[in-house]
């Protein structure tokens, strides 16, 4: 298994009824991708507007690596 660190945006936590503001440790099978991570967290991919891994946009099909820091942000409005 590999472990990654995930931070959910406030809007996403609200949608998922989660109150963990800090990073969440998630264990996944080696070679897991972002859709696998979403499934593990019970997140509908349509709820994710923006995702970064280690402060970069991951390429399509990116295989998560041990220790990756993932940020997930859901759609918001403002400006």
């Amino acid at each position: 298994m590999i472990a990654v660190e995930v931070r959910l945006s406030a809007a996403l936590r609200e949608r998922l009824n989660r109150d963990d503001a800090g990073p969440v440790r998630v264990e996944l099978a080696p070679g897991a991708t972002l859709p696998d991570l979403y499934a593990a967290l019970g997140i509908d991919p349509a709820q994710v507007a923006l995702c970064t891994v280690n402060n970069r946009y991951p390429p399509d099909g990116y295989a998560l690596q041990p220790g990756d820091r993932v940020r997930l942000v859901s759609p918001v409005a403002g400006g």
């Binding site: 406030a10 609200e14 923006l50 970064t52 402060n55 970069r56 403002g78 400006g79």
Partner: protein, 606 residues
């Protein structure tokens, strides 16, 4: 009047300030159908009545206030007004908008628009009460704050009267000043300086009329559908709770949060400024503009004082771009801008620019009236803001904006973060390439409301590629032009599509817009008309550009690290999509397809 049962007042009021004259003309039906209202019609009025090349601060510049066909109806967010004039900042056409039902009061008085020219002999207040139009001495209001002025004039003219006014910043002629109503501001592009140059402290409107929609049953159904669309939008629901600040987290994660004058795209203290932190620590109350179900505005309360809460743009400009994460300092700065009538975006951007001038040794404290503008120093930010607001010392130069200031410090234009003189809003162009295009080509200068910067950051496209961005921008630019011509709030677009807007506009006006996409065509017509205005004033493709920091300085941090903007191919494609030539001039075929050739020559060929 032919337009009276189409949700228009059907009249345009023309006021010349000295010698004072007021006259009324009917609003042309073909103009109303093809340009809808608000931005569209005001741009046409400006094109027709403004002498080409007029000094923006001289008597010939027209200052136009107006409404749209939904103004005065229960349509959501319709409690607003539009303003069009020539900008002292860009030298081109300026359109600007604000919450506050001044447009409604003007319409109830019988006028869709008021077109103001001339310069008053003394500081004055224009009073519009149905057919009674007068110019009154401003007296002691001159020199006073916007809230004092509005309170006093409402006490004089009645609670149903609505007021637009300038603060001391507009009076002294700051190009960062706007026009204020109910603590909202038509902020961008120096409209406050235009009004100040006319010695016009305020305009009061009060009327006894109403608005008659064309198809009341159809309109009621359209209203139901529009409200349902807004109610079902979870982003709008969240904006109601947290205000516009709730996008700061997204922009920070995307590395598009302008920090230290756009030297970075991520701020180390950004989390202190996330929406939920404002909710927990600062906001005490939600408020809304008249008729708005979104209530994005917040009230901050401390020590018994209730202050208007800063929005996301202000938290960037008076916060992150100055390296400041102190929420209460930003609240205080926002209050100063409201009272003095300043655009928070431009004011904060200029202060960030001065902080970088200091960082790089272009200026010393001696050049800044003794103020030491270190990054993150909230006291220094407030001191510089006070100088701008009052027009004191260095504030006289800062108050003309980053571009004017950079002319005094050769080399600094590379990091004066403006386009056409207008300071950039809260999205780093290197981290959002469609936004970069929007900044470059928007008629009024660096603008986040003439397109839709958030689309590419919300999963709509890869923010770091230029590919496809001209088409995305063109579509959202058209939508924004329609919303601004209906004079609704841009935020409706987070819930309502053009379909919901069409379901309101057709029964309100009775215009034969056959399908929602017809509105997209109408929006492109308005954008093209605005382009013609700018071309006439001498703006060219050379003005559709970005500062060197965006074009040649690789992004320092975040997901966009190493990125610059490849602008010219996007501009080529955007012009082509709009039907303009390679120099950005609309072609004869383009004008004909939008029916602008006939409209501009006095008649429409059908």
């Amino acid at each position: 009047m032919a337009l009276a049962n189409r949700s228009y007042a059907g009249q345009v009021l023309f006021v010349h300030l000295d010698p004072f004259e007021a006259r009324v003309e009917p609003l042309r039906e073909d103009v109303a159908e093809l340009l809808l209202g608000g931005r569209g019609i005001a741009t046409w009025l400006w094109y027709h009545h403004q002498p080409p090349g007029a000094d923006p601060l001289g008597p010939d510049n027209r200052l136009i206030f107006g409404s749209g066909p939904l103004t005065g109806t229960p349509a959501p967010t319709s409690g607003r007004f539009a303003l069009v004039t020539k900008s002292p900042v860009s030298g081109g056409i300026l359109d600007s908008y604000s919450g506050g039902p001044f447009g409604q009061a003007l319409k109830f008085a019988g006028y869709d628009f008021v077109v103001i020219s001339g310069i008053a002999a003394q500081p004055s207040i224009l009073v519009i009460r149905d057919e009674a139009i007068s110019l009154e001495p401003a007296g002691d209001y001159w020199g006073r704050s916007t809230s004092h002025t509005e309170r006093g004039l409402k006490a004089t003219y009645g609670a149903h009267a609505e007021v637009v006014s300038i603060g001391p910043a507009g009076e002294w002629g700051s190009w960062l000043s706007g026009v204020v109503s109910r603590e909202r501001i038509a902020a961008r592009g120096g409209s406050g300086a235009v009004m100040g140059s006319k010695r016009l402290k305020a305009v009061v409107a009060a009327g006894t009329g109403g608005v008659q929609v064309h198809d009341p049953d159809g309109f009621a159904e359209g209203l139901r559908l529009a409200l349902r669309a807004l109610r079902m939008s979870s982003p709008i629901d969240r904006m109601g709770k947290h205000g516009t600040t709730n996008i700061l987290e997204l922009i920070d994660v995307a590395g598009a949060l302008p920090t230290r004058n756009f030297q970075q795209g991520q701020f180390e203290d950004a989390e202190k400024l996330y929406g939920e932190r404002w909710r927990a620590e600062v906001w005490s109350q939600d408020v809304a503009c008249w008729g708005c179900p979104i209530h994005c505005s917040k009230i901050a309360k401390r020590d018994g004082y209730m202050l208007d809460g800063p929005d996301y743009e202000t938290i960037y400009s008076l916060g992150t771009t100055c390296g400041i994460g102190d929420k209460w300092a930003i609240v205080e700065a926002n209050h100063i801008c409201d009272e003095y009538g300043l655009d928070t975006i431009s004011a904060g951007n200029v202060i960030g620019f001065v902080m970088e001038l200091y960082q790089r040794g272009y200026v010393t404290a001696a050049d800044l009236d003794g103020i030491v503008p270190e990054w993150g120093d909230a006291a220094a930010m407030l001191a510089l803001l006070g100088k701008i607001a009052r027009g004191e010392g260095i504030g006289r130069l800062m108050g003309l904006g980053a571009r004017e200031m950079s002319r005094h410090y050769p080399g600094s234009e590379a990091f004066a973060m403006q386009v056409k003189g207008l300071e950039m809003p809260a999205y780093h162009p290197n981290a959002a390439k469609g936004t970069a295009l929007a900044y470059a080509v928007s008629e009024r200068g660096a603008c986040h409301l003439h397109g839709a910067p958030l689309v590419e950051l919300l999963g709509g496209a890869n923010p770091l590629t230029e590919d496809g961005k001209p088409e995305i921008f063109r579509i959202h630019q058209s939508e924004a032009a329609v919303i601004d011509s209906a004079v609704l709030c841009f935020f409706t677009s987070y819930g309502m599509t053009l379909k919901e807007l069409w379901q309101l506009l057709v029964p309100a006006t009775g215009w034969d817009y056959p399908e929602p996409r017809a509105l997209e065509h109408l929006g492109q017509r308005i954008s093209t008309l605005a382009r013609l205005c700018n071309n006439r004033e001498g703006l060219t493709r050379a003005d559709d550009t970005l500062p060197k920091r965006a074009l040649a300085e690789p992004m320092a941090d975040g997901p966009a690290q190493g990125h610059v903007v490849r602008l010219e191919p996007m501009i080529d494609e955007y012009y082509r999509l709009m039907g303009w030539d390679a120099n950005g001039e609309p072609t004869a075929d383009c004008l004909h397809s939008y029916q602008l050739d006939g409209l501009l020559n006095g008649h429409v060929v059908r």
